[in-house]
Symmetry: C2
Subunit: 576 residues, 2 copies
């Protein structure tokens, strides 16, 4: 027998570490502990299990060749010993022993280790809202909870649901409830937008609008204050800062926090919020103890600051690095850029790096190149519009982040993933302008939207392009701010522009793009034009032309009316 | 008036240069010349116009907002003067004058320039085959040719077609003919595989098999020797090295070569094959003359050698760099990695960087990590298998290329594009193992197939994994090579494995993956096992286990039977 490796936690990082270590170290004794009975499952699949896309929870714990990953599987196929329902209660670093307790019988025992791996994961945040102990208020933290939620749905016990939290899991759960089960679902988000700090407001508001179009109510800037229940102790209502909502089911999706207590109690360094501190080899402050997955703190490769990134994909890659180092292969995990993607009904939204809002709050003088373009050749029948927002630092030209929204499919992921590795490698706007993406009409355009978003960021950073903030344009249109010298110059086809020019006569002037040069004298004088087309491209060209003939101060509406249309504004004219 | 910029060629790089230069240099006089009357079109869309996916050729020459890009458009919308049917016949560098000729009238004239841009593109290779002057033998080199081909198809004049050349354009044209028009189509390829030097043989052979399943005949290792015609001078037959094929239409898709004559005759440096030599700022050896697009030579960023990359996407990015430099913005085009993607009926195939075969011929000690995995969570209903082949240098660990095949959609492009920027930046296998790709079950897996292909390359480069070459395995199965000590160890589920073990009794032994550890003594002795599963993953695990118990010399079949099945092998058992 070789060294004994004990791993605490058998969901993602733990099993990954165990199996890779077994392959690299045939002589090692490898023991995996978990306090639960269900192990090694794809937690990110829970919303799709609840929705019914995945009929059986066993599929979340099975291999691609349809074997359930249980104790027998780990023993016979992987050569790894798993002890389920075994809770690690303390680590004695001096004696190199983990104290354990049988969850069923309460029997205590201990197990010696040569090397220890902590993969204890995260726990959901429970907001301190009165009534939170009522029945039918769930977090989405384990397969057991997911099974319980689906059971209630299947029994028809849920007519109305409230989801607390407009992050990725909250939105995925809302779709799961509304789409297949027809549950009347409401999302409550404390911040002014969904997906806060992940995408910027225009993209978030497009997601919100799409949720609404699919029957999900969304209330931002709103917090749950109290849960009310019936005589049987079941939740019946959510009282928010603005209203009361009936609810047979409440999903609390308010983020997660690391399970670092075991490490902290053993005297290992943890962050102020409890995440275990590790070096790039995933060693804790005790070199014989490693940690990986949702319980650790990592580095953000854009901000250079410590970060918390509880993602299943990171957990797996971290587990591989732990196993390598256990086996003496010098392997490192450098940090994260926060790559993210999700399905929302018929669209998908994704991001990598940081948003414009985050970039500015981190002190970057950042610009955001907003590109709207067909995801493939505009003449190819399956094309659909995509929206990308590329965030870059003005002085260094470094690209800091990319976010986007597009039709459900893999097209958006193609752009997000292309950016992820580049951003981690500190690439510049010019690197993105020149990035050589594969081109054929069924897949992309000769100048891909990702290149275009970089070109726009270049034009902004160089001061060649000037934009109006979408928020300011909306406020002006809605009469919330006064700008007497502002006027829209609508460059679209007359058929598109006329209904607007009529409805907003006096503030909205229509002259098609290809008539501006020949009919320049038709333009109203003394106005500061907001240049509008469908995507922003024609507007930018006309901005440069107007500058060249001395009509200064014009501003491009980034993304054009293709963005505004998807925000669900109230003032959009009725078009026959 | 500012400087006068004359641009020769108005298809891709030329118009791109003109429009960007106009935006950057409002005072410049910009004149675009083209010998054709149809300009600024998406040449890569031609196969989809021929197929009927794109009904009207005008769509290939229109903007996304449906305006045809003709002379009026360039004048009124873009502020650029275009002279069509104007052939540039010579460049007088001393006088800074381009000599031109009106294609219609033959009238000669000249036009002075301050800065000149050559964007003369490429011309198709015409193979020196007797009979090549017959009617209905076409290249796919211009919109006029495409219109003529489609006209013949629409009139029902084409029952059988032969495509000479199994590169991307040949395959796209074959699909266009066979799929919508029902033409009996044959591809002839001189090399031993389709897509030669772009992908390696296993991937190419999967493409061939898919073409055959969709009714297209493919003959590799075969050359056209002669074209035979009827009394009206129309082609009727293609005589190859192996057979005679009836044909009402022949498409010659044997690559293109640069149109560099104008540059060469003006004394500018051109490559041995006629491509214009430029620096990274796209300047020719005359600093007042730039060149871009299919007529130039560029650098391959993997091999470090001069390369020819006639791609519409590069042409556009090069044009942007030319315009920047004309306007005094120091901008560079560093070179290419050769990113490529194409649709083939229901699948897509793509690549970036170099193939294993090319890598080895360039002197790299290269390994190829062959990964086969679900393109998204294996429990997600829309999942499909994807095949990736990651090529890396064993000693430096640098990733040299990535190629793959998958279900038609954007999933493969997501992986190819993610790799493109990384490969251009000389990233290592470890960089790819750790690449942070966005994960959610509807899009990908927690450990994405791209990470997995790098992990496999790592295992190969480290000597932990040993493989049998797919070609050798096939030769052995087909009795072409003798290997008395070889035996298949089939690790799949007994239901899958039994028909093979029965049919190939004596050389094919079945023992499921999770029974090898407990039932090790059942294995036949003295054999060199070829380890087989569906993807290669289980095989690798068992290889390490067998090594650890002293059963040495086993070899993993890369990609497992999922690859073999897609090669259309004759020996596949009938499974009831």
């Amino acid at each position: 027998m070789g060294v004994r490796i004990v791993i605490i936690g058998a969901v993602a990082a733990g099993p990954k570490t165990a199996c890779r270590a077994r392959r690299l170290m045939p002589d090692a004794e490898i023991i995996l502990l978990d306090k639960d009975d269900l192990i090694s499952y794809g937690g990110c699949g829970i919303p799709y299990y609840v929705s019914g896309d995945i009929p059986d929870e066993k599929e979340l714990r099975s291999t691609s060749y349809h074997i359930v990953r249980d104790e027998d599987f780990f023993k016979n196929a992987k050569g790894v010993e798993v002890r389920t329902l075994t809770k690690a209660t303390a680590i004695d670093r001096k004696e190199k022993v983990v104290h354990i307790e049988d969850v069923g019988t309460g029997k205590k025992d201990s197990i010696a280790y040569d090397k220890l791996v902590i993969a204890t994961g995260s726990r959901p945040n429970i907001l301190p809202i009165p009534g939170r102990e009522l029945e039918r208020i769930f977090t989405v933290s384990s397969l057991h909870k997911a099974i319980a939620i689906k059971e209630k749905l299947a029994k028809g016990e849920v007519g109305k649901a409230v989801v607390i939290g407009g992050g990725a899991i909250g939105i995925e759960m809302a779709e799961a409830l509304a789409d297949l089960w027809g549950v009347e679902t409401t999302i409550i988000e404390f911040m002014p937008q969904v997906l806060p700090r992940i995408v910027d407001k225009p993209i978030a508001d497009m997601v919100t609008q799409h949720l609404k179009e699919n029957g999900v109510s969304v209330y931002t800037n709103e917090a749950a204050k109290e849960f009310l229940g019936d005589s049987q102790g079941r939740v019946t209502k959510v009282v928010t800062t603005n209203r009361e909502l009936e609810a047979d089911l409440v999903i609390m999706a308010a983020g997660v926090r690391p399970r670092g207590e075991l490490a902290k109690d053993a005297g290992l360094e943890v962050s102020p919020y409890g995440a275990i501190v590790v070096n790039q080899r995933m060693q804790t402050t005790d070199p014989d103890i490693y940690a990986a997955g949702d319980c650790i703190e990592t580095l953000h490769l854009v901000t250079g600051k410590k970060a918390y990134a509880p993602l299943g994909s990171c957990a797996n890659r971290e587990g591989r690095v732990v196993a390598d180092n256990l086996a003496g292969i010098p392997s490192t995990f450098e940090g994260v850029v926060g790559s993210f993607i999700m399905k929302v009904f018929d669209i998908c939204v994704g991001a990598t790096g940081i948003s414009l809002e985050v970039a500015r709050s981190e002190g970057f003088e950042a610009v955001g190149g907003f590109a709207v373009q067909s995801d493939r050749a505009h003449f190819f029948p399956t094309q659909a519009l995509m929206f990308l927002h590329l965030v870059a630092d003005k002085s260094t030209r470094r690209v800091l982040g990319l976010q986007g929204i597009g039709k459900m499919g893999d097209g958006l992921m193609a752009r997000i993933n292309s950016a992820a590795g580049m951003i981690a490698r500190k690439s510049s706007i010019a690197d993105f302008s020149n990035l050589e993406l594969a081109y054929a009409p069924p897949f992309s355009t000769a100048v891909d939207i990702l290149n275009v978003s970089a070109n726009i960021a270049d034009n902004l950073a160089s001061g060649r392009m000037r934009i109006v903030e979408i928020e300011d344009f909306l406020a002006w249109m809605e009469g919330k701010i006064e700008k007497p010298d502002w006027m829209v110059l609508d460059l679209r086809h007359p058929k598109e522009a006329e209904p607007f020019a009529e409805k907003f006569s006096g503030k909205w002037f229509a002259l098609p793009y290809n008539r501006v040069r020949p009919e320049l004298d038709k333009l109203p004088k003394g106005k500061k034009f907001i240049l509008i087309c469908n995507a922003g491209t024609r507007s930018y060209e006309i901005q440069l032309f107007l500058d060249s003939v001395g009509i200064e101060g014009s501003m491009v509406l980034p993304g054009g009316l293709n963005v505004i249309r998807r925000l669900g504004v109230s003032w959009w004219p009725e078009i026959g």
